[in-house]
Structure formats: C-alpha cells, structure tokens
Amino acid sequence: MTDNKKFLSGNEAIAHGAYKAGCKVAAAYPGTPSTEILENVSKFKESIYCEWSVNEKVAMEVVIGAAFAGVRTLTAMKHVGLNVAADPLMTMSYLDANGGLVIVSADDPGMHSSQNEQDNRNYAKFAKVPLLEPSDSQEAYDMTVEAFAISEEYHTPVILRMTTRTSHSSGIVDLGDFTPLPSSGRTYEKHIESTIPTPLHARNMRPKVENRTNALREVAETSNLNRIEPGSDDLGIITSGIAYEYVKEVFPEASILKLGFTNPLPAKLIKRFASSVKRLYVIEELDPFLEEQIRAMGITVQDHKISLCMGELNPFRMKQLRSEIYGEPAPEIRSKGVTEGLPARPPVLCAGCGHRSVFYALNRLKATVNGDIGMSKPLYAMDTVVCMGASVGNAFGMEKAGYKNRTAALLGDSTFFHSGITGLLNIVYNRGASTVIVLDNRITAMTGHQNHPGTGKTLMGDATKQVSIEQVARGVGVDRVRTVDCYDMAAVEQVLKEEMDADEPSVVIAQRPCIIGSRVKTERQFVVDFDTCKGCRICLRLGCPALELGDADPNNPKLQKARINHVLCVGCSMCQQVCPHGAIQESPVATNN
C-alpha cells in the first residue's frame, strides 16, 4: 500500500478525506489556519463543487442547503469564523442533516494569526453536536471520513476541530483505497416538521436532540477514536488533539486514554480508565473542556501548578509539567549568550504596498482610526480592532458617543464584502456622517491571495461578475463615494481630509492591486541624490523595506543618508513624494545605487 502513502498537512488531509467520503459541496471563507482546506478541496473540483463564500455565515448556510438536498457537504473556517456562522449552526443542530454535514473549526492556540484563542470545542457542547479532535494528519484524514458517516447516520452536523499545529504540520498519511464512497442516495423530500423550527416543531425537535446525544454517547463508548494505551498504572493521562502527541513524547511510560470523539464524552470508558490508575491527569490545550466534565462525573483529577489553559502547548511545557508531577528539577532553556541585542525582523508592508499612503495620510491628519482584521500590520496607524467588519460600526458608535476628532473606519476589500456592507447601511439609515475607507487591493491578501466578489474569479477558477465596491456603496445610500489612487499621496490626503470633515456618510476607495499578486515591476526607478539628501529620515517614516540608511561621511559617523535598495524597490514613488528636499529623483535606467 506504499503507493497510497502521501506526506500531507492536516489541512490537505481533510481535503483528501472529503474527497474519499464522497463530499459534493464545500464552502468556506478564508482564515488562517483553515484556508488551505478549501484550496486543496478545489484540486478535486471535478468531484466537489467548492466556493469561497462571502463570509462564514453564508458558507454555513450554503452547506446546510446542500445537506437538505441530501448530499455530503463540508465547510471550514477559523475559530472566530464560527462566531459569524454560529446562528445557523445552533439551529441546524435541531434540523435534519439529510446529507452528511461536516464543519471544520480551525482554532489558533497561541494566537499565531488571530485576535483571540477561543476554544471552539465549547461550540460542540453548546450546539449539542458531535465533536472529533484529530491529533495528526492521518487522523485528520480518517476522522473526516468518519465525521461524514456519523453525520449521515445521526442526521446531525459534526464539528471536526483542528488547531494551527494540526492544520499546518505534516505527516505521512495512508490514504488506503482512495476512491470516493458511494452516495447515500438520499434526495430532498419535503418534511417541514424536521426542517422548519417554528416553536411548535422546535419543541418536538428538542427532545430528539437529547435522544441523539444519548445515542452518540454510546457510540463514543465503543468508538475506535477513543482508546486506552496501557502503561504504568501509577500515572494515567486523559488527552486529546495535539496534546496527545506531546504527552506521548514526554510521558512514554504513562497509561493514556486518548480521546478523539470528545462530545458527548464516553463516561463509562473514562470511569473505567480512571479506576485503573493511581493518579489521573487531564492534559489538553486551551480550556479545561474535558477536565471540567470529567470532574463533574465525580472522578478525582490531580491538580497541577503549571498552567496549561493559555497559549499553545509544546514539549517544553509538557516537560515542565513532568518535572512537577515527579518532583524533578525543572527543565531550563539554556542560553548560548549570542542573542543579546539581535535586531528584530518584524513583518513589514511590502515596498510599493498601496496601503502605505493611506496609513501615512491618516497619521498626518491625526485621525482616530477604527481598524479591521487583515489590516493589522501597521498597528501604529490604528486605534482599535475587534473583528471582521467591526470597524464600520465602531466608527459610527464613536460618532454617536459625541467623539469629535476626525475618525474613520478602515477595512480591506474582502472584509468590506464579508461584513462591512451591513454596517455601512446602518450608518446611512441612522443619519450618520462616518467615513469608511476601503483599502482595495483586489484580493484577500492577508490569508494568501484568495478571490472574493470583487476579483471576478471564483475558487473553481471560473470568471464571474466583478462586483463594484462603489456601486455597492451607492446602492446602500451613500452619496459621497470617492475613488483614489494610493500612489498619489497628495490626492489620498486631500480626499481623506475632505471626507472625514464632511457632514454626511462617505466611502473612500483607495486602490492599488496587492504588490505580491501583481508582481509587475513598474517601469520607474528612483535614486537618492547623495549630495541633496540631508539625512533627515522623513522618507523612512514610510516604513518601506526598500529604503535603507547608509554612512554618509567617514569623518561624521552620525550622519547617515537614505539609499534605495533596487532589488526591493518597485518604483511606487512615495518616497519621492514625501522628500522635502527633492533628493529622490527618477532615474531612467536601472542603476546600482
């Protein structure tokens, strides 16, 4: 079977699992660490219809519709995306998943690229739906297939819970017989008592949800996703997800109850395991989701001082716990004494990024900026960030609170389509005067360049209607809509000033395609005239990686002047526009500075 072994990331494994399970419809909105799931599903587009939906709620509604129609269907989103999609999820728990319905939640312990580290296992308990937690890529593949089977048999959505580490680490996956499973043959038939939750129907559905949970508890008791790995009876550990891998690495001698099917919990299995060991620990990443329920079963779980409930786990934290459990000396991180004063290397806006001029102008105008997700890099330029689309409502709320400073909402094009439009409509309806700036780079850049309604292309690669942000803004009733080229810094500043000062709602669309996507090196090139440069460093305020400081005078080491790195420079001319001394000039040919 060597032929069917592949080296796959957790996200790739889920896509393969969806194919194997005979999934027919997949929908998602991109979000780290979940994005590659749908990108990889699209490689099976001959078998699976897939799309970037406008947001997670729509994605959830699309797959629910597909499940009503009787086909197997999958949605994937980052943890906070499930907040957006929570409304349909909570009720879908009551309704009939006629086709298998799998929801992948990719959580982000440690907040590698997220605004919080909420533990979405709680959603499974909250919505009363089954929960599977893979520990590696093989399990991500196997459990995806299993999740469809459980969903279809019990007519319920199933949550498959990934984390950044399980999504983005890779391992060997045996795909076995990689041919799609046959369809269930189910089709849509009208039966409103299980698809329309009017109060009368919903009250009948409610006990069915409870009965289903009880039935699933029995499934969890005997499921091969939950297994005891016998070891020393002195130390027993109950664990799930990625934590299992660290436990195996650091506690090779322990008895382990490895839980993969974690809602509802197999109480009898847990009690049996607990009674077989002298000391029982529960080791899990983020919330004490298992531990609280296990304690509530009346089982004694050992306390420990090393806290595991915040941040990402790793072998080092596991070793710290081990030293506490065995009363051994704590592990140390040894220093080689070579890291002192190392200059930081923060992520930066690319040379030629159109966003730069907008941030620069907002800074000069001393504006208060309600920012948004995806705009998070130049933090100095923003005042607040909450969640997708929140900038618009936040700016309006500050206005209604009587805050008088120049204020703007700042969001990207993809975020505007995701959840900026409703906030904008609210401003118009409620007689606001807020300014919404859309940084329009024609792509979902932050997550790695996914298409959206403004790009004219779908996930399947088909051409589609390119929705105009300007027309949308006018359509919801904004009269002042202005479009400006990000590379024209004077115009950017002028337009922003006028619109922020205007006494009615306004939208500014600041345009320049993402420099990474376009990869077009402009014809223009600029050089710093060494004699004219005063070393004032005003150009450096742009934070452009192509601008460097170099020694200017061997007798005066303090005097440093600007240089342009032509490997990085794309010729956007912003530095020329801000130089007060006219020291940066266009040069007709490529030179070596």
């Binding site: 080296f7 080689k336 004063g341 190392l342 200059p343």
Partner: protein, 193 residues
C-alpha cells in the same frame, strides 16, 4: 526517544525554506522513516523571520522539536541562525548561507547591526559550515536555487542514499527548473563532502 533526528530551517519569508523542508521530509520518508514537519503560515511571513521544522525517526509524535534538541540547523541567513541558536543542541551542526538580509529595524536606523556576527556564530555553533549558497546558485543561473544548494550541503550529514535525495528533489521542485535544482543540490553536496 533520542532516535529522532531534528532539523530546523530558518530564514526570512520568501527565501524558499518551505520547499527545502519538503524535500528533506520527502527524502526521509523515502528512506523509510516516520516524518513530521511543522511550520506556521499566515501573517508572520512577509519579510519576517520564518522557522520550519522536520523530525524523522522510527516513530515521531510531536511535530515541534523540543527546546534545545535541534540536531541540524539550516540557516538561510546569518542573523537568523543566531536568533534560533538557543534551540540547537550543543552537539548540533549548523549549515549557514553566507547572506545578510538587513532587517528594516536596522536599515531604518532603529537598531544597530550585530558587528560581531561571525564571532557569535562560532560561539553558538562549534560545528558550523558557512557556505556561499547564494553565490553558488547565482553562478548556476538563479539565486532561487539557494535552497537546494543548502539542502545538498545538509544531505551529507544525513544517512540517506543519494538516490533518495535525487528522487525527492526531482519530485518536488518545479518541473521547468528541475535541471537547475538538481545541479544546485549536487553543488551543495560537493561543498560539505
């Protein structure tokens, strides 16, 4: 548990560390080992420090290398080798590309450059090989093959058959640049032979 070999690849976003880690992972898999690879995608990439980890052995659990247990460091940039130094075992080997990518914090004058960078590297890694991987790749026709030069340089330290490496490189590099990458790998392998 120490029959696991731990390799870390560090550099600056865009330098090609991911392809190199894929080739190493594939080679280890072809050599019959269990393999895990870990990296973090997302907003940390653009121009920032990147780390990718590969572990192989009879059975690998954690995809993350335990602190201080990295056996081989492949650094695509001089400064980044130091940033990762404390995670490398005292007995570890470092293969380092002789290239400096000046961080924006230095080019904009906010932080001073590390003047004693070579001394620090010698102190951090008693066993280190600093090689002109970028120049070698450039001489072959494209500096983008720097990653394969470094992979070739690492390959001598891992006990895999040469055929395994050839297959891994051929399978994973873009088909139209296959010849270049195969040559780059061979050159890197020659440098540390």
């Amino acid at each position: 548990m120490n029959n696991i070999t731990n390799i870390a690849l560090v550099g600056v976003g865009g330098q090609g560390t991911l392809l190199a880690s894929n080739v190493i992972s594939r080679a280890a898999m072809l050599a019959g080992f269990d393999v895990k690879k870990s990296e973090v995608h997302g907003m940390a990439q653009r121009g920032g420090s990147v780390v990718s980890q590969v572990r192989f052995g009879e059975k690998v659990y954690s995809p993350i290398i335990p602190e201080g247990e990295t056996d081989f460091l492949v650094s695509f940039e001089l400064l980044e080798s130091l940033r990762y130094a404390d995670s490398v075992a005292d007995t570890g080997t470092a293969v380092i590309n002789r290239q400096i990518i000046v961080p924006v914090t230095v080019s904009s004058g906010q932080q001073p450059w590390v003047e004693d960078i070579y001394e620090r590297i010698d102190r951090a890694f008693p066993k280190n090989k600093i090689i002109d991987a970028m120049d070698i790749a450039g001489a072959l026709g494209n500096i983008k093959a720097t990653n394969m030069v470094l992979t070739g340089a690492l390959s001598n330290f891992l006990d895999f058959d040469e055929a395994v490496w050839e297959q891994a490189v051929s399978e994973l590099v873009p088909p139209k640049h296959k010849d270049l990458n195969v040559k780059a790998f061979a050159e890197g392998r020659r440098v540390t032979a």
